[in-house]
Every structure is written in structure tokens, then in C-alpha cells.
């Protein structure tokens, strides 16, 4: 595919996403049109952890890791800030502000802004902590777990294998954890070591699941639509490829199979 075609497709893709976002919001605002977001086990624990934090007067630890605005992970960093905003807002009834840690200094102003907007008992500037990248960050956070005694760790951001040190530390201290990383190595470590884990695009729908606001739910719906279309496209391509290789499998049969799969998928989705 040449560069011009790629650019045209990119523009069309972005425009289609804009249209989908507005359409989903329109339907979300209609009476009775609010769509329930699919349940994610890890996110359902956050309410309990927040209550525990308030009652025990122990802070929540929210880790952004290496995500940063200004780089290619800017949207991910903004999604994480939105998730943390919703969590801090829930914890606002308590007396102790959550601790927000990052390994990229450019996230400090965003973190402080998030705390300022969601936490109404002081500026919370000293609750945003920066340590240098990767291992230094992980070891500093692991070391501070014994002193700060967080009620729970919610690690959503850019983490690599160094996440293992933090999750191991949390486990040793008996502190529950939820982890998700926008890097593959960090995601594998999160799956193995965290008490609860989010995977892939679940990071981007997390704020909608935690909040009561409709816009997060509609963004989740847009993601579901795109994901469904990609799965559908991949399935069709796979079946067409099979139909070329197997003499008995014609493209008509492949199309019929795909139609059955789509109907089955739609029925299962509606039931869930």
C-alpha cells in the first residue's frame, strides 16, 4: 500500500471514529438508551478498595509508570489520568489523598491537575511522586510500600518487566493490586503477578466502568463496534482463504458459515 492510500485510509478511519463517537453519545443520551458496560472483575474491586482506604485511613496507590503525554502514548496517558480522576473522586470522602506515582516528569503536572480536580481537601501536590525510569522507579515504589501502607495498588500505565518488583512487593505486604500495561512485556508480568488484571483496550474503557458518566460508556461502545468489525473482517478473510485451498469449500459456503457465526455472535452478545 503506497503512502497516499495509507494517508487517505487514516483520514477516513479517524473521521469514522468521530462519527461513531457522536452517534454513540446521541444514543446514550436518549431516554432508555443507556447501554450497560460489560463487567470487568478487576474494576469491580475498586469500590471496595476505596471504601477500605477511607475506613482504614490508608492511601490508595495509583501508578502511571512510564506513560507520558507528548509521546506516542499520549492518548493512553490521558485515559489513565481519566481513570485515576474517577478513582480519586470516589476516595474524596476520606481524609488521606491517594498517592500518584510516575516515572516520567512530564506527567507530574497532569497528575497534580488530576488530584486538584478530584480531591477537594488541599492541593495534593506532595502526593504526586516521581522517580526515574524503570528499575529505579520500581525499587523506590517497592521500598515505600512498607512505609506508606497503601490500601491497594492500581497500576495502569506504561510498565515493563520491572512491574514484577512492584507487584511482588505488594504481595509480600499483603496489599491487593490491579495492573494493566500498554507494553506487552509488562502485560505478561501483570497477568502472572497481579491479583486482578485488565488486558489491552480494557484500559481505555476502565474510566467509563468506574464512573457514572455516560460519555465513558459511549466510548466503550465505539471500541466494541470497531473490535467487532475487525473480528468480522478477520473471520471473513480467514474463511475466504480456506475456500481457496479446499475444493469442497466454495466462497458461497464460506459466506454462509460467516453469516451463521455473525448471528451466533450477536445472539451471545445480546444474552450477555
Amino acid at each position: 500500500m503506497d503512502e497516499t492510500t495509507l494517508q487517505v485510509y487514516s483520514v477516513l478511519f479517524v473521521m469514522a471514529t468521530v462519527v461513531l463517537v457522536y452517534t454513540a453519545r446521541f444514543f446514550q443520551k436518549r431516554p432508555g438508551g443507556r447501554r450497560a458496560q460489560r463487567r470487568l472483575d478487576g474494576l469491580e474491586r475498586i469500590a471496595g478498595w476505596t471504601t477500605q482506604s477511607i475506613e482504614s485511613n490508608r492511601p490508595l496507590h495509583l501508578a502511571i509508570g512510564g506513560s507520558a503525554i507528548g509521546a506516542d502514548k499520549t492518548p493512553a496517558a490521558l485515559a489513565e489520568a481519566e481513570l485515576f480522576h474517577q478513582i480519586i473522586k470516589r476516595a474524596d470522602a476520606g481524609d488521606i489523598a491517594p498517592i500518584l506515582s510516575t516515572s516520567t516528569p512530564v506527567m507530574i503536572p497532569l497528575g497534580q491537575g488530576t488530584l486538584r480536580r478530584a480531591w477537594h481537601k488541599g492541593d495534593g501536590a506532595s502526593r504526586v511522586i516521581w522517580y526515574p525510569q524503570n528499575l529505579s522507579y520500581a525499587s523506590a515504589i517497592a521500598a515505600s510500600m512498607a512505609g506508606d501502607k497503601p490500601a491497594a495498588h492500581i497500576m495502569a500505565g506504561g510498565f515493563g518487566v520491572e512491574l514484577a518488583l512492584m507487584l511482588d512487593g505488594a504481595d509480600r505486604q499483603g496489599q491487593p493490586s490491579l495492573a494493566v500495561s500498554d507494553r506487552l512485556d509488562g502485560q505478561a508480568v501483570a497477568y502472572a503477578l497481579a491479583d486482578h488484571v485488565l488486558i489491552g483496550e480494557e484500559l481505555f474503557v476502565a474510566s467509563g466502568a468506574v464512573s457514572e458518566e455516560g460519555s465513558g460508556h459511549s466510548d466503550a461502545a465505539v471500541l466494541d463496534v470497531w473490535r467487532g468489525l475487525i473480528i468480522l473482517g478477520a473471520t471473513l478473510l480467514l474463511l475466504l482463504e480456506f475456500s481457496k485451498q479446499l475444493p469442497l469449500l466454495t466462497w458461497q459456503l464460506a459466506a454462509a458459515g460467516a453469516a451463521v457465526l455473525i448471528v451466533l455472535g450477536a445472539v451471545m452478545y445480546r444474552r450477555r
Binding site: A79, V106, A164, L184, E201, L223
Partner: protein
């Protein structure tokens, strides 16, 4: 228009300008490739270039914010009697003194920081192995079992032993087909999420801009 409205408008204007500049700039073929198309493409690319350079300058300055934050947080902690924070501040001051008095000598970094980080990296290995072993305690289901089985096959397959040659083939297949497919699916999900979150920011819907 309130402060939030102005912030959202500025975010929208800058975001849209950069997006259009990156998508349409520097490609004369998009405008038919005629006589004026090269100049038009170059002009379209200019605003995006300028804004991205500004971002680079701001990012370079952010390290100052980081150091200020580090000192601010740990001075407060020392006041509350935290020993580790006092050690951190003392190390910080000593490192700067060493670097200035020895005219740029970075031996302290090489003699202390590098060995400590290497030690941590080796500890990380044990944490990962321990984590792998703990998966079955946490997730005693088919997926946990599959995870551990794949880890074992890949680890054994990477050993240079002739007796384990069949496992090497399995390991290669696992890495090339299911692991690669899973990784692509994960990255695809993250990419879709990035686009939706980017559109949200572009439309000024993001809370960071709304004040």
C-alpha cells in the same frame, strides 16, 4: 466562554491542526502532483512541525519539574521523620557535589548506580520465576494452566540440549503462531483504544482540558 471552554477550544484547534498537518503534509501526490502541489504540501506540514518541536522543548524542560518534585516530596517526608527520604536527599546532594567538584566525573554513577541496577535486574529474574509459579495458586483454571505450560515449553525449548530438540520445534511454533497472534491482538486493541481516546482529546472532551 469560560476557562474550560477556552481550554477545550485551544486543545481542539491545536489537535486538529497537528492531525491535518501530519496526515496531509509532505505528500504532494495527495493534491494531484501538479506544479503547486509540492509547495502546498510543504506549507501544510509546517504547523505540525512547529508544534512538535515545541513539544520536544517542553519535554526537555520537564526533567527540572521532576527534580523539583522529588525534592519537594522528600523534604516533606523528612520533616515527618522518614529515614529513606533523608538518605535520598543526602545522596542527591552528594552526587551533585561530587560531579561539580570532580569536573564532570561520572565514576559515582558507574560504581554505585550501575551495579545496584544490575543487582535489581537479577532480582527481577527471581521475581518473574516466583510469579510464574504463583500463577497456579491465583488462577487455578485452564488459562492459568495454559500460561504455565507455555512458559515451561518455551524455557525448556531455549536450552541448548540435543535431547530437547522436539521441544525446540514446539517452542518455535508457539512463539511464531499463537504468541505472535495474541500479541498482535493485544496491540490492535490498544491501538483502537488509542484512536478513541485521541478523538476524545481532539474533540476537547478530555477532562485534562476541561479544567
Amino acid at each position: 466562554m469560560g476557562r474550560a471552554g477556552i481550554s477545550a477550544f485551544v486543545a481542539f484547534a491545536v489537535g486538529l491542526t497537528t492531525l491535518l498537518s501530519l496526515l496531509l503534509g509532505d505528500n504532494p501526490a495527495l493534491f494531484g502532483g501538479g506544479p503547486g502541489s509540492e509547495e502546498l504540501a510543504r506549507r501544510l506540514a509546517l504547523p505540525g512541525d512547529v508544534l512538535l518541536r515545541l513539544v520536544v522543548i517542553v519535554l526537555a524542560l520537564s526533567i527540572v519539574i521532576g527534580i523539583t518534585n522529588l525534592l519537594y516530596v522528600h523534604v516533606g517526608r523528612v520533616a515527618r521523620g522518614k529515614l529513606y527520604s533523608a538518605v535520598l536527599l543526602a545522596s542527591f546532594a552528594f552526587t551533585i557535589y561530587w560531579y561539580v567538584s570532580r569536573r564532570g566525573d561520572s565514576s559515582l554513577l558507574e560504581a554505585v548506580q550501575v551495579p545496584i541496577e544490575s543487582t535489581l535486574a537479577s532480582l527481577l529474574f527471581f521475581s518473574l520465576i516466583y510469579g510464574g509459579a504463583r500463577v497456579m495458586r491465583r488462577r487455578a483454571d485452564i488459562w492459568g494452566l495454559l500460561f504455565v505450560a507455555v512458559v515451561i515449553v518455551v524455557l525448556l525449548g531455549s536450552l541448548p540440549l540435543a535431547e530437547l530438540a522436539p521441544l525446540k520445534a514446539w517452542s518455535d511454533w508457539l512463539m511464531a503462531v499463537p504468541v505472535s497472534a495474541g500479541a498482535r491482538a493485544l496491540l490492535l486493541g490498544i491501538a483502537l483504544g488509542t484512536v478513541v481516546a485521541g478523538v476524545r482529546a481532539l474533540l476537547g472532551q478530555d477532562r485534562s482540558y476541561r479544567g
